[in-house]
Subunit: 318 residues, 2 copies
């Protein structure tokens, strides 16, 4: 059985070329203070410096650029708690087409503003998956726009895969590469890139205990959706997508969970020691490394800092 | 008259080599969003990524490494509201000698902690210059340590000059280069580097209105110390040093002031748009550019982001 019929190594490379004018090749950063603390060599991929402040710029750009002109004409639509929304609005704006975005009313103000700045049209809904899907259906019916899902989509996953592709292209031979997991777009893409470009690198997902459906699904061998997610990592509230689950089951080594206290502590370290602004979701992999130091001891550990769109008035530091 | 007898172009280059194992060659960053907002091309020199989180690592390393063994033996001492303190403690620790640090009781907790982590011995004093100098005299008398001042010292200025030196070494031809000004170590060093390596680049100091002694001194042609400084930019409360004033008078084009509201707004932009953690002092040059857009229109403008040591529990964002 070939579990990944849609993506191969050439396609991820081609995707990176396709989106080249729309995204940054983001830098890697290190911190000797954090290495000492973690007992391993940490290499951080700074997607917080990415366009729209998150890795989501990659998948959205790839999905929009892969639409043919007849598909593009009525624009694109999606539902998203934030970063995918801004990413799709921006990608659409650069392609000269409209973007219709269904957002939960609880989405951070900074994320709503970003969508508006890129010219996206926002439709607010209740903060649950049913309301989002209902809102989206209306928008698609009304405008004839093409739905670009936040994660459960081959072109989106292929786009997110370009992030880990860049790490491997720089010739780093990592023992492990960690990414946060919410819907699973980044983790699935990361796992595929490792599979094609660095098969000796283990890929591990990191997830908040308060939204641990990926861990549960991974162990059970079937998708178990999260019901009442509760975590400070607002980018990871969604349940694993179907395509994502398939790729993750096949190509991910493990999924580690951490609690909110550990997430905040890791977030603080990244602010204080690395001087980087990140959103809480982004601190989950470092929290997982610090909770499992023995496992990673003396290894070369990559961490994808997935995004930096945080409400500065609500930072969790006391 | 030669106003800069102690430093020449060879010496700054030598200083950069001397401190090479003790400091980072920090990266330059750009932001298309901020360029658009400012109407010019901004290039940020990220000293917030420097060792100890601030450019002060340079001057302290240079001053300590220039001591001969007989001078080093009893250690070094200083008074500082923060970053120089940590920088000197670290430089001393790497050189294997003790550091005695007189700090105002009001210094941010994070800066006191940093000194302790590097093994520096702290002596607290009242938050004014007289109390600092008194405290320092006692420490020097007691331990026989060598006083390394925070800014009013040739070796310190020469060390700070290596920051702008790196910018020019990368081949950037800037129209203007801005640095914040407190005691004037960074601004004087920056002006000297521009003088030797990029004489067509104007150097401009940026200062809070609530501590505008550099502006007043610059206009009056003599040092006018600040009396009751009041600004959120806690790194810029000190008055201009004597050597610093001489260099600044000769080689700086202008000094621009901004108020605290403008500093906070610029700080917020750097957090939100660049995803960088900086301290308030560090936002002063961007605030000055945004206040004087016409002056900088379409120019290539360098900004030194001087440091990132901020108390995260007290960020000024609402």
């Amino acid at each position: 059985m070939n579990p990944i019929p849609e993506i191969n190594s050439d396609k991820i490379r081609e995707a990176r070329k396709r989106i080249d004018l729309m995204v940054h090749w983001t830098p890697l950063m290190r911190s000797s203070a954090l290495d000492k603390m973690a007992g391993c060599e940490l290499i951080f991929k700074c997607e917080n410096f990415q366009k729209v402040g998150a890795f989501k710029a990659r998948g959205a750009a790839n999905a929009v650029l892969k639409l043919d002109p007849s598909q593009r004409v009525n624009g694109v639509a999606t539902h998203s708690s934030g970063n995918h929304a801004a990413a799709l609005a921006r990608a659409a704006s650069e392609a000269g087409i409209p973007a219709y975005i269904v957002m939960p009313s609880t989405a951070p103000e900074i994320k709503k503003q970003a969508v508006k700045e890129y010219g996206g049209v926002i439709f607010e809904c209740e903060p649950n998956l049913l309301a989002r899907e209902e809102g989206l259906r209306k928008v698609v019916d009304t405008y004839g726009a093409v739905f670009i899902p936040p994660y459960d989509h081959w072109d989106v996953i292929e786009g997110q895969a370009t992030c880990a592709f860049e790490i491997f292209e720089e010739g780093l031979s990592l023992d492990v590469l960690l990414s946060p997991v919410g819907g699973g777009g980044l983790l699935a893409g990361t796992a595929l890139s490792a599979h094609f470009y660095s098969p000796d690198t283990q890929v591990i997902g990191a997830e908040p205990e308060g939204a641990d459906d990926a861990k549960k699904s991974f162990l059970a061998g079937r998708r178990i959706p999260v019901e009442k997610p509760n975590t400070i990592a607002d980018g990871l509230l969604t349940s694993l997508g179907e395509i994502n689950f398939g790729i993750i089951s096949e190509h991910v080594t493990d999924i580690l969970t951490v609690n909110d206290e550990e997430i905040i502590a890791a977030m603080r370290l990244i602010y204080e020691r690395m001087k980087l602004v990140i959103e809480p979701s982004c601190a989950v992999p470092l929290a997982a490394v610090l909770r499992n130091k023995t496992r990673f001891q003396n290894q070369k550990v990559g961490i994808i800092l997935s995004g930096g769109n945080v409400d500065l008035a609500k930072l969790p530091f006391r």
